[in-house]
């Protein structure tokens, strides 16, 4: 079992969600995050002073998946989440020791 964390643009969320649905990913968890980095943030002016917000709002999707699904999930996100401009984000894959479904107490692969 793997956990996939994908940081994507807000504007790509609907496409990514639909792409995931198409390959059978029925559940995921979404987080609001801020991306800091070289990508330029928004320029804000307030009372005559200009400043740079040095982050951009991003979404993080956490997806638990069977090992054999990982590749197609990564593919799906890559194609749906890409604009080609700097700041498209990243996908990270982690190993998972154990998963338990709270409702049924099922463990492991069945819990995903």
């Amino acid at each position: 079992m793997k956990k996939i964390e994908a940081i994507i643009r807000l504007s790509r969320f609907e496409k990514v969600r639909d792409a995931l649905a198409k390959i059978g990913v029925r559940f995921f968890t979404l987080k609001d995050v801020k991306g800091f980095g070289l990508q330029k943030g928004e320029t804000i002016t307030y009372r005559g002073s200009t400043f740079d917000s040095d982050y951009i709002a991003r979404l993080q999707l956490d997806i638990l998946a069977h090992d054999d699904m990982v590749e197609s999930i990564v593919e799906a996100i890559l194609s749906a989440g890409r604009t080609g401009e700097v700041g498209d984000g990243k996908i990270t894959v982690f190993a998972v020791d154990q998963v338990v479904r709270i409702r049924t107490q099922e463990e492991g692969a069945n819990a995903i």
């Binding site: 807000l10 400043f51 982050y55 709002a57 979404l59």
Partner: protein, 420 residues
């Protein structure tokens, strides 16, 4: 009475009407600020409906129940459904000794009427069923409020007995407060408020909204009290402005001091309620007091607020999210009695009339409200389900959110660098 004076009087009464109207926005803001985010649409919805229902029912029957023009000195009278303007000058310059027209009379009084129901709305917030509340408010405002109103302002038995209530410490505020009390007894506390582990405070979701509400209420009170002079009499109205303002200010200081002594902190919600307490307190005798008497009445009202809030909330375990019982019921009683203690009419005789007058009104109102609410409870039910309460009434009753937003506009809290 010349036309010019009549016109000046009537202008003031209409301005006062508009000011009383804005109190409904004051209540809506205050109550919205003091409830949780998830129940905001619901409280705004109720308050939008109450003023509308109040105006319409008062037009249909309330006005003629409250000012029947028959059965003077009695308990009940009714002049028939609908409005009928006396012809010619009888509805104009001669209607009220040149103070205002028939239409002005109706609309000024109509704005008052809805207030009583609005007071209840705050106390029962976050758990009452919408339809039950709307039915309750409709009946309360079109029957109960006008009947007790008639006792005094409609030349009924309390007027004959010498009971004094200038602008409604009893007839409006305590009436609303008794209604609120009856309702919250039957309704019970919000889920999770009183647990085995202790009493859980449920903070309101927006202090700015609450503060806006209180300032607007104060603003509107210039019309509420100032208009109750029922003419633009310069000395009388300006005195009322002075006593009303000073009592409100003293209410703030009273609540500030008392809540600091009690809780060792500067609680904004108490100061805001203190302002309202001062205003409710002065309302019964705003035309009778000197500035210093007004300050005394307001300061006591303000100081009583924190004590009353804690008593209802912790001792009696009566859950009232906005403090309506403390502000309107307790300070309404205080203000009514204060007429017998301070000012031009002070005296034991007057105090006695004030006491039994306000208790009589309270008894009727409480019984009426309790009976009505009980009827609703055993028929359609008055409380949302636990699950609806947990999700919030906005989604449960309205399928809406107060601060809806599409995902693409999520805006993270800003962060900035130094100026480039």
């Amino acid at each position: 009475m010349n036309e010019a004076l009549f016109t000046a009087n009537n202008v003031w009464m209409l301005v006062a009407t508009a000011l009383v109207f804005i109190m409904h926005l004051g209540f809506a803001s205050l109550e919205a600020g003091f409830v949780q985010r998830k129940n905001t649409v619901n409280i705004l919805f109720k308050n939008s409906m109450i003023i509308s229902i109040g105006l319409l029912t008062y037009c249909i029957m309330g006005f003629n129940l409250m000012y029947p023009g028959v059965n003077e000195g009695g308990f009940f009278g009714f002049a028939g459904f609908g409005l009928s303007m006396p012809e010619g000058d009888a509805g104009g310059i001669d209607y009220a000794g040149g103070g205002y027209t028939y239409w002005t009379d109706f609309i000024f009084q109509a704005m008052f009427a809805a207030t009583a129901a609005t007071i209840v709305s705050g106390a029962v917030a976050e758990r009452i069923k919408l339809n039950a509340f709307l039915i309750f408010a409709t009946v309360f405002v079109s029957i109960s409020y006008p009947i007790t109103g008639m006792w005094k302002w409609g030349a009924g038995w309390l007027e004959a007995a010498g009971f004094y209530d200038f602008a409604g410490s009893t007839l409006v505020h305590a009436v609303g407060g008794w209604g609120a009390l009856a309702a919250i007894i039957l309704l019970g506390a919000r889920k999770g408020k009183y647990t085995s582990a202790g009493i859980k405070p449920i903070p309101g979701h927006s202090m700015p909204l609450a503060a806006v509400g209180v300032f607007l209420l104060w603003f509107g009170w210039f019309g509420f009290n100032g208009g109750s002079v029922l003419s633009a009499d310069p000395v009388a109205v300006s005195l009322v402005f002075v006593t009303t303002s000073l009592a409100a200010a003293a209410g703030a200081i009273g609540a500030f001091t008392a809540s600091y002594l009690l809780f060792k902190t500067h609680d904004l919600s108490m100061v805001l309620n203190g302002v309202l307490g001062g205003l409710v307190g002065i309302t019964a005798g705003a035309d009778l007091m000197t500035p210093f008497e007004a300050i005394a009445i307001g300061a006591i009202a303000g100081a009583v607020i924190p004590v009353a809030v804690v008593t209802f909330d912790r001792r009696l375990k009566l859950d009232d999210p906005v403090g309506a019982t403390s502000v309107h019921l307790v300070c309404g009683l205080w203000g009514t009695l204060a007429v017998g203690i301070f000012g031009a009419k002070a005296g034991l005789g007057q105090l006695w009339v004030q006491l039994y007058g306000t208790l009589a009104v309270g008894a009727f109102t409480f019984a009426f409200a309790f009976g009505l609410m009980y009827l609703l409870k055993v028929t359609i039910g008055i409380r949302v389900t636990e699950e609806e309460e947990e999700r919030g009434l906005d989604v449960a009753e309205h399928d809406m959110k107060a601060y809806g937003e599409s995902i693409s506009s999520i805006e993270p809290a800003g962060y900035e660098l130094a100026v480039k």
